[in-house]
C-alpha cells in the first residue's frame, strides 16, 4: 500500500532520539558558557591559591581514564542489548555505574583537598569558575549514574530487552556527552598552563 511508505515522522527519524540530540545541543551551549567563564577569568585572580598550587595532574589523569573506560563500557552495554544478551547488558551497565561512581569519588577527593588547601568557591575567581564548571559536570555525572542504575534494575527485572534498544542508546548518548565535556575540561582547565 502506498501509505505504508510514508515516513511516520516529518524527518523519518525517531522523534525521541532527535529531541535528545537537540537537548545535547543545548547542553553544549550551557557548558560552552561555563568554559568561557573559566577561560575569561583564567589568570585573573589576585590572591591564591592559583591553579598550579592545587591542581593534581596525575590524579586527574587517572580519573579521566576512568571516565573514558566508562564510555567504552557504555557502548558495550548498548552492544549487548542490541544482541539480546541480558547478562552482557547487566555486566556492562554495572561497570558504567561503578566507573561513574569512581570518577565522582576522585572529584569528591579533589574538592575536599582543595578546600583543605584554602581554595573554596568564594576564595577567588579561579575558585568560583573552577567549582562551578567542574561542579556542574559532576552533577551531570551523578544524574547519569542514577539513570544507568535505573536501567540496570529494569534489565535485572527483565523489563529491558532487545526491543528497548533506544532507551539504552539515549542514556548512552547522555553518558558519552558527559565524557566529551570532560575531555575538553581536562585539556583546558588541567593541562593548558
Amino acid at each position: 500500500m502506498a501509505i505504508a511508505h510514508h515516513p511516520p515522522t516529518a524527518t523519518g527519524l525517531d522523534n525521541v532520539k532527535l529531541g535528545f540530540w537537540t537537548f545535547i545541543g543545548s547542553e553544549t551551549l550551557f557548558f560552552g558558557s561555563l568554559i568561557s567563564t573559566y577561560m575569561v577569568y583564567k589568570g585573573a585572580s589576585v590572591a591564591g591559591p592559583y591553579p598550579h598550587d592545587v591542581l593534581n595532574i596525575p590524579l586527574t589523569s587517572v580519573s579521566t581514564f576512568v571516565l573514558l573506560m566508562s564510555s567504552l563500557a557504555m557502548v558495550l552495554a548498548l552492544n549487548a542489548v542490541q544482541a539480546g544478551s541480558r547478562s552482557g547488558a547487566l555486566v556492562w551497565l554495572m561497570a558504567v555505574v561503578i566507573l561513574g561512581l569512581g570518577f565522582l569519588g576522585f572529584q569528591a577527593y579533589e574538592f575536599t583537598h582543595f578546600v583543605h588547601e584554602g581554595l573554596t568557591i568564594k576564595t577567588n575567581v579561579f575558585g568560583s569558575s573552577f567549582f562551578v564548571l567542574t561542579g556542574f559536570h559532576g552533577a551531570h555525572v551523578s544524574v547519569g549514574v542514577l539513570w544507568l542504575l535505573t536501567l540496570w534494575i529494569q534489565t535485572l527485572r527483565g523489563k529491558i530487552g532487545k526491543e528497548d534498544t533506544l532507551k539504552v542508546e539515549i542514556a548512552g548518548l547522555y553518558w558519552h556527552f558527559v565524557d566529551v565535556v570532560w575531555i575538553v575540561i581536562f585539556t583546558l582547565v588541567y593541562l593548558i598552563p
Binding site: 545541543g25 553544549t28 589576585v46 564510555s71 565524557d179
Partner: protein, 118 residues
C-alpha cells in the same frame, strides 16, 4: 514494552534509515586509541622541550579524542546527518563564543582591570 503500531512503525523507519553498529572489537579498539591519546596528552604536559607547541598540541589531541567519541561511541559517523547538524551547529556556536571571549579579555584586555577585589 507496549507501543502503538504508529510508534513501532516510527522506530522501524528510524532504524531502517540508520545503520548496522560496529562490533565490540571495534569499540575496544577505539577505547585503546582514546587511552593512548590521553597518555600522550599527559606525557606532552611533562616534556619541557615541547613548551612552545604545548597548547596547539594539546588542542589537537583533545579534538581527536572528542571526535572519536562523538563519531563512533555516539554513532554520528553512522547515523542520519540531521543528528550531526543538530549537535554540530550549537557546538560551532559554543566554540565561537569561547574563542571570541578569550580574544576579548586576553588579547584586547584594555580597561578590563583585575577581577578580584573590585
Amino acid at each position: 514494552m507496549t507501543s502503538s503500531p504508529t510508534q513501532a512503525e516510527a522506530h522501524d523507519t528510524a532504524e531502517a534509515g540508520s545503520h548496522a553498529h560496529p562490533t565490540w572489537r571495534f569499540y575496544v579498539m577505539v577505547g585503546v586509541i582514546l587511552t593512548v591519546i590521553t597518555a600522550a596528552e599527559v606525557a606532552v604536559f611533562y616534556i619541557p622541550a615541547l613548551g612552545g607547541v604545548l597548547v596547539p598540541l594539546l588542542l589537537v589531541l583533545s579534538t581527536g579524542k572528542f571526535a572519536l567519541v562523538v563519531m563512533f561511541y555516539m554513532h554520528l559517523r553512522f547515523d542520519s546527518p540531521i543528528f550531526s547538524g543538530v549537535f554540530v551547529a550549537p557546538l560551532i556556536l559554543a566554540v565561537f563564543v569561547i574563542v571570541a571571549l578569550i580574544v576579548l579579555f586576553h588579547v584586547f584586555p584594555r580597561g578590563m582591570g583585575t577581577l578580584d577585589g573590585m
